[in-house]
Symmetry: C2
Subunit: 394 residues, 2 copies
């Protein structure tokens, strides 16, 4: 009899979002019609920008006519998009060839798929609190997880240490859920650590578009030595509002190899075997993001979320509450006042301020005592939420 992948039995159930929805439903049952302020969402709320919409419509029209119809796309991405992304990296001083750029359906898809390149006996370092899929995707593959906690003492930006010994090193900077973003020196330490040990960094750059500080790199390849140790996985989800439209990209430098095997060549073989490329329509929409007009328009959207961040961080500053993030990232990680735990603070915010946050403990044990606030909501709701925070804690 066929044996299923029994690693799935080791997966832990996460009740985070289920519990949130249950608690919210119970609250609304007792308080019908009450308006809630949703600072828990990890999804964007602004529509796609006009340049992208125009490109999508054009691409749909191409698919309507025999002369312009596109069938199977190149598995690693359309040349027009791979070149646009490589040129985009070039503008910030990272030289990439377009065949080091691979188009994907999004960072979450790619973070799952890319693990096929690595032996299942290898280990994975997860800096916590973390996006839960990092752990689960590796548990499914039977890999050993090295949990690496962080906290207030390092601003949720842990440095390498002997306890960080692992084959794969996940780095998400700017970070989900903490909003903390590593600077050049911080990332350099990890690049050196990985190169010395022959580890490979999986660098999740999904939130790079929110970076303001000059000293915070948008790409791991801004750090010398990164091309021999890092794969960068990026997405247009938060950069350009593509969460439901789906597009991302991955960089695998030609220099990156271990034990004589080149990961770029392996990935080409993987993609040509396991995909038929990403939708022509969506790739055309994505290419519009990298035009001058597209860049201007997506920055206007990001400015709206950054304004929300400023409203919230100014309020927290006035209230004297500890938090990180909100400056180079769309998330704020708030220390719950009065030594409350995450769920107790969640309940208090819901009942006393009608605000929904995300309990930090849902991202790993060391997230206990924190809550994640998102800046992706509407400006009006964010202003009202800030006012209510002041009323409750001021």
């Amino acid at each position: 009899m066929l044996k299923p992948n029994e690693n799935y039995l080791k997966l832990k159930e996460s009740y985070l979002f289920y519990s949130i929805s249950q608690k919210v439903a119970a609250y609304l049952a007792n308080n019908p019609g009450e308006k809630l302020y949703r600072l828990g969402i990890g999804d964007v709320s602004l529509p796609l920008c006009p340049a992208v919409i125009a490109a999508l419509h054009e691409a749909v029209e191409d698919q309507a006519k025999k002369e312009t119809f596109h069938g199977y796309m190149p598995e690693c991405g359309a040349p027009f998009l791979r070149e646009a992304i490589a040129a985009h990296y070039g503008k910030r001083g990272v030289e990439l060839s377009s065949d080091e750029v691979y188009v994907s359906s999004g960072a979450s898809d790619e973070l799952g798929d890319i693990l096929d390149l690595f032996d299942r006996q290898s280990s994975a370092l997860i800096m916590e609190p973390a996006y839960p899929a990092y752990v689960d995707a590796n548990v499914m593959a039977g890999r050993r997880i090295v949990h690496y906690p962080s906290g207030v003492e390092n601003g949720f930006l842990p440095a390498p240490s002997p306890a960080a010994e692992a084959d794969l090193i996940y780095i998400c900077s700017p970070n989900n859920p903490t909003g903390s973003a590593d600077d050049r020196a911080g990332l350099k330490a990890w690049v050196d650590f990985a190169n010395e040990r022959g580890a490979v960094i999986l660098f999740d750059a999904a939130y790079e578009a929110f970076i303001e500080d000059e000293n915070v790199p948008h790409s791991i390849y801004e750090i010398p030595g990164a091309k021999t140790c890092a794969i960068e996985i990026c997405s247009l989800s938060k950069t350009a509002g593509f969460t439901g439209t789906r597009l991302g990209y991955t960089v695998i430098p030609k220099e990156l190899m271990r034990r004589g095997m080149r990961f770029g060549s392996m990935w080409v073989r993987n993609r040509t075997t396991k995909t038929n490329g990403v939708s022509y329509i969506i790739q055309k929409g994505g290419a519009a993001v990298f035009t001058e007009e597209g860049q201007k328009q997506i920055k206007e959207n990001i400015a709206v979320y950054k304004k929300n961040a400023a409203v919230l961080t100014e309020t927290l500053d006035k209230l004297g509450l500890w938090y990180c993030g909100g400056r180079n990232a769309p998330y704020i990680f708030l220390k719950c006042p009065d030594e409350r735990n995450s769920w107790s603070f969640f309940d208090m915010l819901l009942h006393r301020a009608q605000i929904i946050a995300t309990p930090g403990v849902g991202f790993g044990k060391c997230g206990e005592g924190f809550c994640r606030l998102s800046t992706f909501g509407s400006p009006e709701d964010t202003v009202e939420a800030a006012k209510r925070l002041t009323e409750v804690f001021g």
Copy 2:
């Protein structure tokens, strides 16, 4: 040092399409400007139908406005599409709940991803000639491949036998590359074989829309017992011209489990960990395929390819050449005349008739001595190619 997945070292390079392109380039260098008749392509040539185009434009407009914007989609598929597909199965007598239907980016993507559900010590039965990715995806996972050849003696529709013992059984019917399609009795034998042994069938139904014969099932679930042994993977690529637009669907019945583990639940966990769903825009376009208007329009396109098939099979019948396929499938598998091998016949077709075919040996050893002809070309070119076949072999 990180160990790469060394199973990749066991992959064989395929030079099939590379060799074809080299030979064609050399021919054109010697015969500049010569018109070629491409019966080698596995891609569609007709554009998307009007109902799909209209739905795609509408969905793009939805993404342009805050009120109708869609962010993250449900990982297993949008309810509107899952319900439309389940209803479509219902019309041909297969009762499915919409949560047994999973939306994918296409069959090739899904055929790669779904293997995560099975233990890597399991074995995979590949009936050859076969789509090369079946073998490669399993080699990447370290699985033992059971090659199961077929030929003229069984019309390229092999029956189960003790030599077919394996944990996973790939069935592609109607078949790529042979165009042969199994009837109820043939599929029933495989379903019984799988149920008796606890094997799981991966049923690739990508070409079901080309079936004409009443006795050839469109879905494996038309066979009693299939829900306890089969996963069906389908695609809109050939059904509705989505090769470059990307959309497919997978059915995992609730009854399907092995050693106490339910594959449907495992797949939900896989999708929620490793994807963020398929593009809203593309899912809306796909839903239009399942409307009355959409069904009528896609059938008009398929009728064009079927006309091509009739032109070619009538010619081969007149010439007295052996082939299979072309009736319930868009492919024809032709026995090379005069005991020629696949490449020698390829050269002859190219040089004497300016026709490009696909050498059968590229799909496995038992494909030697055959060529695949595709019916996806333009009607004009297909008619001219048929005329040239008659001139050369008549």
